[in-house]
């Protein structure tokens, strides 16, 4: 007979209190480990700064106003690049998912191009778009576009055939089916795909800010790398992680507010 358990419950809820404790430990244990290891002095602080040193770097950057500027610039670039990618990929993915013909027309080329590393496009982007914000944004755009398109496309697969047929029998035309049935149905999946791929955009922030950026979190990290200011690298990474977490929660909120009908 199956034994009773709380921790090893499968696909059942666990008590709220346990869940919160575990989530707290999820953050606390790594920080504690970091604190212990870095304070033993076994690893020189050049390679692994202590939490205190990183906190110091964080405060230093904050006091000088650099961090705020970095955050503002990087946020702007990532959000701009990501939004552009979303604006293109959502209709594109929906069309590809809806019409097998458009899928046949675009899938092979996208299948090839999506494997090409975004950093390879830097010289071409500089060439055509200069050194301003546009090439940086475009790099993030390119690096996010294809993943998002494919994930949106996959979502359309889950629209029940009956829903489409019902719409036809109610007198719906193809365009109406697309805009008034398929699109609202996959909206939760679109939001979820965007949530996942926002991280892909952030992963490009360093590469994109290699393009003649004078501020930004990615640039801060790469300069810190050059001069081996490990504390600043860590501070930059942690700030990016926390911003990411915040954006993630915002997307979840958006999903909850805009798609009440969808189960989480």
């Amino acid at each position: 007979m199956l034994s009773q358990t709380v921790f090893w419950r499968i696909a059942e809820e666990i008590p709220k209190k346990l869940a919160w404790t575990l989530m707290f430990l999820s953050i606390a244990i790594p920080i504690l480990l970091w604190w212990v290891i870095s304070n033993t002095g076994l690893i020189p602080s050049l390679f692994l700064p202590t939490p205190g040193e990183v906190w110091g770097a964080f405060q230093r950057l904050l006091a000088s106003g650099d961090l705020q500027k970095d955050i503002a610039f990087s946020l702007f670039r990532v959000i701009a690049g990501f939004s552009l990618a979303a604006i293109v990929s959502i209709p594109l993915g929906t069309l590809m998912g809806t019409f097998p013909s458009i899928r046949a027309l675009l899938e092979p080329i996208i299948g090839i191009v999506r494997y090409m590393p975004a950093p390879a496009f830097i010289p071409l982007l500089i060439l055509y778009l200069g050194l301003g914000e546009i090439p940086k944004i475009m790099l993030i755009f390119i690096g996010t576009l294809f993943f998002n398109t494919l994930m949106v496309m996959d979502a359309v697969k889950f629209v029940p055939q009956h829903l489409l047929e019902t719409t036809y029998t109610l007198g719906g035309q193809r365009k109406q089916v697309l805009l008034q049935v398929i699109l609202p149905f996959i909206l939760p999946n679109i939001i979820d795909a965007c949530r996942v791929n926002m991280a892909a955009s952030w992963n490009l922030v360093i590469v994109s800010e290699l393009v003649a950026a004078t501020e930004g979190l990615g640039r801060r990290i790469s300069v810190a790398q050059r001069y081996l200011k490990t504390d600043e690298i860590f501070a930059g990474l942690i700030v990016i992680g926390l911003i990411g977490l915040g954006i993630d929660l915002l997307f979840r909120l958006l999903l909850r507010v805009s798609c009440k009908w969808a189960k989480d």
């Binding site: 060439l127 290699l210 001069y227 081996l228």
Partner: protein, 322 residues
């Protein structure tokens, strides 16, 4: 798409009305003076409208010039030759400095001669002056790159790898030299001081700029020498500006000074004239070019005839005399 055109000149009070020139520069003691030119408004004084663009990555500035996103850039001779070899039309109009020790090959304890490098791991950023310097050193000892374990790494990463004990030697330029030397027992094996004239740094402009707006190029050169005068006149202020740009203290900055020989107008005139040793830029260029081809770094030797243009330094010298 040069967005520079649309941006407003820094100082609307001056009567500078010429189109904006974008000039790139990056971290090198011979190029930090441009920051002084900017902050002391020496560009305006010399009636040139400059958008001075700082690059954290030197490589990016080279790419930007090739891509036509800059009108001028500060770069080393070997990079200029590579660019020209790849088909970019660039002209050297001013020599800023020669490296006289700021480029170093630094080794760990136990390596005492170039010959000792044989079979050792040496990290250096591929295609940079330090790569060039390393190869020059190896050549002198009768070795080639094949005799060492070559580790191509970005300069910052290279010095970090050296400090972490991952490589036996590293080729870096200031200010990364300081960091590399922080590894205990490490020392300089040789440096650019041992190869005078091999590593000149200069201002390169596009052929288009020379053809269309020679007077602006002239103004740039005038600004450079005016800047050198300013540094001489008020060194404290100038060093403060340069140290800040470099991200180091004034004391540290001054330490780099000996490793770079800033070129006066006389040095420029001499370097631009033909000769049979490395003091002559055209002679050095021939050597470097040959070297790059032999190392397989460029496909064919470029035509070096049109790479040098000494008329602007000459004009400045003439004006000084008069």
């Amino acid at each position: 798409t040069p967005n520079q055109q649309t941006s407003t000149p820094q100082n609307p009070n001056t009567s500078v009305k010429t189109a904006l020139i974008s000039v790139g520069f990056s971290a090198w003691p011979g190029w930090f003076p441009w920051q002084v030119s900017q902050e002391e408004k020496l560009f305006e004084t010399n009636k040139v409208n400059v958008d001075l663009k700082w690059f954290d990555g030197y490589l990016d500035s080279i790419n930007a010039l090739r891509a036509g996103q800059l009108n001028a850039n500060t770069q080393t001779l070997n990079d200029t030759i590579s660019s020209v070899a790849a088909g970019s039309d660039q002209v050297i109009v001013l020599i800023n400095d020669n490296s006289t020790g700021n480029d170093k090959i630094i080794v760990r304890e136990g390596i005492n001669s170039i010959a000792d490098l044989k079979g050792k791991k040496v990290a250096v950023e591929e295609g940079t002056v330090d790569h060039f310097l390393l190869l020059l050193g190896l050549q002198k000892a009768g070795l080639t790159q094949a005799d060492i374990q070559f580790q191509p790494l970005e300069t910052g990463a290279a010095s970090a790898a050296f400090v972490a004990g991952q490589v036996d030697a590293v080729g870096v330029f200031a200010p990364f030299t300081t960091k590399a030397l922080s590894r205990s027992g490490s020392k300089e094996l040789f440096s650019s001081k041992d190869f005078p004239g091999a590593i000149p740094d200069h201002l390169v402009v596009t052929r288009k700029l020379i053809n269309e707006r020679p007077q602006d190029v002239q103004a740039l050169i005038n600004t450079w020498f005016a800047t050198l005068d300013f540094i001489k006149a008020s060194p404290d202020k100038a060093y403060e500006i340069m140290a800040k740009r470099a991200g180091v203290s004034v004391a540290e900055y001054k330490a780099y000074n000996s490793g770079t020989k800033i070129f006066s107008i006389e040095d420029n005139l001499q370097a631009f004239s033909p000769g049979k040793d490395m003091k002559s830029l055209s002679y050095a260029a021939e050597k470097i070019s040959k070297f790059l081809v032999e190392a397989g770094l460029t496909k064919q030797a470029p035509n070096l005839q049109k790479v040098f243009d000494d008329r602007f330094v000459k004009a400045y010298a003439a004006k000084q005399k008069s």
